[in-house]
Symmetry: none
Subunit: 203 residues, 4 copies
C-alpha cells in the first residue's frame, strides 16, 4: 500500500518467496502431514487462495523448500580433492562439511526422510540422491583401491552405500534425535570408521 505498487511480476515473485519462507517455517514447526495449506498461507501473510497461484499442492511447496537446502547438503564430497594428498584428511574434511550442513538443516533433513516415506515422488528423489552419492564415493573408493590405499576385496559401490548410510544415519541420530555425542567426537569416530573400513593406512 505505502510502497509504490510494483509490477505484477515483481509482486508475484515476492509472494512466492514469502510462501516458500512461510512454508519452511510451518513444515519445520508442524511436520509435513500436520502442515495445512491455510496455515502456510497465513504464516506467509497471504490469502489461502494465493497459495495455489504459485504451487499446485503441498508437495510442490515442499519441493521448493527442499530445493533451497538441497545443494548444500550433498553427501561427503570425497572427490573434491583438497590440495592435500592425505586421503584421511580429505575424508575428514568431507565429513565435516556434510555434518555441518546437516546440522544447519536438521529439521528439514528429518522432514525429507519423513516425506520420502510417504510420497512416491520424494521417495524417488531421495533414492536418486542416494545413488548419486554412492556412485560418486564409489569412484573415490575405486581410485584408492587402484592406488593400493584401500582394501581391494571390497565392492566399491556396495561399500559406498554402506558407509554413506552409516554417516547419514549417525547425523540423523545426533542432530535430529538428539543423541548426546559431541560434534568433534562424532566427526572423529566417523572418519576413523571410514578409514578403517577401507583399510586406509594410517597417515
Amino acid at each position: 500500500m505505502s510502497t509504490a505498487a510494483s509490477t505484477p511480476r515483481v509482486r508475484g515473485a515476492r509472494t512466492r518467496e514469502a510462501l516458500v519462507a512461510g512454508a519452511r517455517r510451518v513444515f519445520e514447526r508442524d511436520g509435513f502431514l500436520e502442515a495445512r495449506i491455510a496455515d502456510i498461507a497465513a504464516e506467509s501473510g497471504v490469502a489461502t487462495g494465493s497459495f495455489y497461484t504459485h504451487f499446485d499442492s503441498k508437495e510442490a511447496a515442499f519441493a521448493a523448500v527442499i530445493d533451497e537446502v538441497h545443494e548444500e547438503t550433498l553427501h561427503p564430497r570425497l572427490e573434491v580433492t583438497h590440495s592435500t594428498d592425505d586421503p584421511i584428511a580429505v575424508i575428514e574434511a568431507a565429513h565435516r562439511d556434510y555434518l555441518l550442513a546437516y546440522r544447519r538443516n536438521a529439521k528439514l533433513m528429518a522432514l525429507l526422510e519423513q516425506v520420502a516415506l510417504i510420497d512416491e515422488d520424494f521417495r524417488r528423489l531421495r533414492l536418486d540422491r542416494v545413488h548419486l552419492m554412492a556412485r560418486r564415493n564409489a569412484k573415490t573408493i575405486r581410485r584408492l583401491q587402484d592406488k593400493g590405499l584401500a582394501d581391494p576385496g571390497l565392492d566399491p559401490l556396495s561399500t559406498a552405500h554402506a558407509l554413506n548410510g552409516m554417516v547419514s544415519r549417525m547425523a540423523n541420530l545426533v542432530f535430529v534425535h538428539g543423541e548426546r555425542i559431541g560434534f568433534d567426537s562424532l566427526l572423529a569416530t566417523l572418519t576413523a570408521l571410514w578409514a578403517n573400513a577401507l583399510r586406509i593406512p594410517a597417515r
Copy 2:
C-alpha cells in the same frame, strides 16, 4: 463358522487374532496412513465396530502387529558367542540372522520406520530399540578392544551406533527399496566393513 464359537472369551481371542492378521495384511498393502479401520475390519471378516472391541486406535493395532515381528528382528546379536572363537565368524553369523529376519519382514520393518517418523510413541519405541542394540554391541566391541582384537581408539558406543546404522540402512536399501545387491554379496560386504572398521585382524 464351522467350529462352534465356544465361550465368549474364546470368541474374543479368535477375533483379536483375525484382526491382527488382517491389520498386518492391510498395513503391508496400504501403508499405515492409508490403512482405514473399516478396511482392516473387512479384511479380518468382522464388523467395523468390532475393531474397537479389541483396539483403541489404529496405532494400537499397529503396535500389536509390530509385537509379532519384534523379537525376531533384533539387531546383530554379537554377544551370542557361537561355539567358535573366531570373531569374524560371529559377526557374520549375527549379520546373516539379522538380514534374514529383515528380509522376511521387510514391509513391516519399512512401515515401522514410517510410523516412527509420524507417531511420537513409535518414535520412542524405535529409539529405545536403537539404544538397546547399541549398548549391546558396544559391550562386544569393548570386549574385543580389551582382548587387543579391536582398534582401541574407537569409542565403543558411538562405534556401535554407527555400525548398526550402517547395517540397518543397507538392509532397508536392499530389501525395501530393491537395491540390486545379492544377499551373499551384501553379507560379505557388511561383515568385511564391520571387521575392517574395528580393525579386527584377519582370520
Copy 3:
C-alpha cells in the same frame, strides 16, 4: 458361587435390584445422556446383556429408579390437615416435608427435569404430576377461600400452579444449583410468600 444357588426367580430379582441401584449411581454420576448401558451393567456387577433381561431400554431403567423416589417427593401436601387448625402451620409443615425430600434426592430430581425435557414419556409423567399437585392444592385453596381465609379473587387452579412452581423452582435453585440460602430461611420465605400470596390472615 459360595452361597448356595438360589432359585432362578430369586437370582433374577437380585440382579434387577442390583441394576436399579447401579443405574441410580451411574445416572447421578453421569447424567442421563452420558450414562451408558455398559457402564450401568458394570457398576451393577453384571454383564451388559443382562441389562436387557430386566429392562427394555435406558428409559425403562430410569423409570425404575424414579419410581423409588417418586412417592416421597410429592409436592406440598396441604390437604393432610395436621391436628392443628392454623393454616400457616400446615403450609409450613408441608413445605418442610417437600424441601427435605427434595434435598435428599436432589440429583435425581434434577435428572428427572432433564429427562422430561428430552423424552416425551417422561415429559408427560412430569406434567401429570404437576397437574395432580395443582389440583390437590387448588382444593385446599378453595377451602380456605370458602372459610374466608384466602383472597377470593384468585383463581384456585392457576394460583396453585403458580405457587407450586415457585416452590419447586426454589428447591431446584438451592439444592441443585447450590444457591446459598439456608434451609430455615428458605422455608420461612416460601411459607411467608404462600401465606401472603393467598392473603391468609397472620396467625
Copy 4:
C-alpha cells in the same frame, strides 16, 4: 443469487446470517440434541463444511441464536418506573412485557432450558441471567419495603428469586406445555400473587 455477491467479507456475513436463521428453524423443529449440523447447513442453503467456517460447534451456533432472543426476554423490569406511581400497575406492565416476549419465543425459551440442563456453559449462562434478574427485582422490593409498601419481614433477594421463578415457571407451563390458561387470566393471577406476596396495599 440476484444480488452479485460483492466482497468475500460481505458474502461471509450473509452466509452467517443464513446459518443463524437456519439453525433457529432446525433447533425449533428438532430440538437441540436431534439437530444435526448437516441439517442446519442444508436448511441454510450452504454446504456442510460452511457451517464450520462460522461456528466451532453446534453449541456456538445455538449461542448465536440465543443471543438474538436474549435481550427481549429479560424478566420483569420492575425498575423501569413507568410514569405512574402505582406499584401494581408497574408490576403488571412488567409482567405483560415478559409474558409477551416469552410467548413470542416460546420454543427457544424451552430449548434454552433444555440445553442448560445438558451443557455446562449454557447452565452458567442461564444461572447468570437468573441472578441478574433476582438482584434487579430485589432492589425494587427493597425500595418498596423502605417506602412501607411491602412486607418488611421478607428477605428481598430470596423473595425475588422465588417470585421470578414462579413467573418463569408459569410462562413455561402455559406457553411451552400448553396449559390452558388465558393470557389475561395468567397476567392477572401473576400480578395479584406478586402484589399479595409482597403485601402491597391494594390500589
